[in-house]
Symmetry: C2
Subunit: 212 residues, 2 copies
């Protein structure tokens, strides 16, 4: 299946700006992208296409597109042969097994939620659907499908729900990722640390300092 | 299957204390518990047992146990007929379908992760396993199983991963829950609100004030 993988190189992960410099954020999102592409390549005979806001050096086909995310995706949904999947590049918990399940869902549209009401992955099998990533897109995508009389699979995956936007999200990478993203964090001085021994609460630290 | 549902009525959801009074927190966790029990009852012929730190009025069998969580569960893993599942009471995104998938996993132990490295649900089919909810229990439970030579299913569910501990978690209830928990929040003045129209970022508000 053609799998679009959008990445924003221009303003990467602004909510991590208190923690990571601009070059660090660019490097980290590219490590996550590599992990997503590795999982896609291991999942079967798929055809990933990275949609990047700027040129990027990665072992995959890349198209540079400065359109906003929804427009960039929708252009390809009408151009490309369906079915097409859209999988975000900041999902470093993804595995080949998750991708295999995702692309095998039966309905016209498959929607996989992210934390906070986003849509982290979608599979589109009909030209009657379009994406709109603005706002509560998980709800909006169901409405778009319903309004067009389409069938919908709601895909329930923890590994697809975790997108890395905020400092608190880094703990998930350190626990569950086994690829470039975790290695990049380790090399940048990040680690898991237990701050509250009684409750066993874990936090992320950088060079020994707790991260908030 | 016997399904243990632990609930802490004594110190309920201390990280929500800035937002909800003690009576409110007690009421809210009982609304979440009712939703979990409703899903279990709709999932098939299961046998839920609520493990509560204090007496509680709910439509299910209840055992009051003041032992710490891990000890209270482990006592029942040896006493009760296996297999036994343990499903936390603060998982209001749970559905009957998720429970059916969970209890049908094949291996000796099934572990379902929570955000931050916790274990939100586990299915135990052998006396050689015990729980330890302290710290990074998702990793610890895999190690306990590995050390005993047991097979493990890692269960990948967004709906089971969302436990409600912090103010930011309430958005998931308002988006995905359709039962008592969301109704309780609505009646207490909580709603979804768009604070950043350009990015479409949603937050939780109470009586019109954004919640942090």
């Amino acid at each position: 299946m053609r799998i679009l993988v959008p990445i924003d190189i221009t303003e990467p992960k602004t909510r991590l700006a208190g923690l990571l410099s601009y070059p660090e954020r660019r490097a980290f999102i590219q490590a996550m992208l590599r992990d997503v592409l590795t999982a896609i390549n291991a999942a079967g005979d798929h055809d990933p296409l990275v949609l990047s806001t700027k040129p990027i050096d990665v072992q995959a086909e890349v198209e540079v597109d400065s359109l906003p995310l929804s427009a960039a995706v929708n252009t390809r949904l009408s151009e490309e042969l369906l079915p097409t999947a859209v999988v975000m590049s900041d999902l470093p918990l993804i595995t080949p097994q998750v991708i295999r399940h995702l692309v095998n869902q039966p309905n016209d549209v498959t929607i996989s939620p992210g934390t906070g009401g986003g849509t982290n992955a979608v599979v589109v099998r009909t030209e009657q659907f379009f994406v709109d990533y603005h706002g509560l897109s998980y709800c909006d995508h169901q409405k778009i499908a319903r309004d067009a009389g389409l069938t919908v699979s709601k895909f329930d995956s923890y590994r697809l729900s975790v997108d890395i936007d905020e400092p608190a999200d880094l703990i998930e990478v350190l626990i569950h990722n086994t690829g470039d993203a975790r290695e990049w964090l380790h090399n940048a001085g990040f680690a898991l640390e237990c701050t509250d021994v009684q409750r066993g609460r874990m936090v992320v630290s950088r060079h020994g300092q707790s991260v908030r």
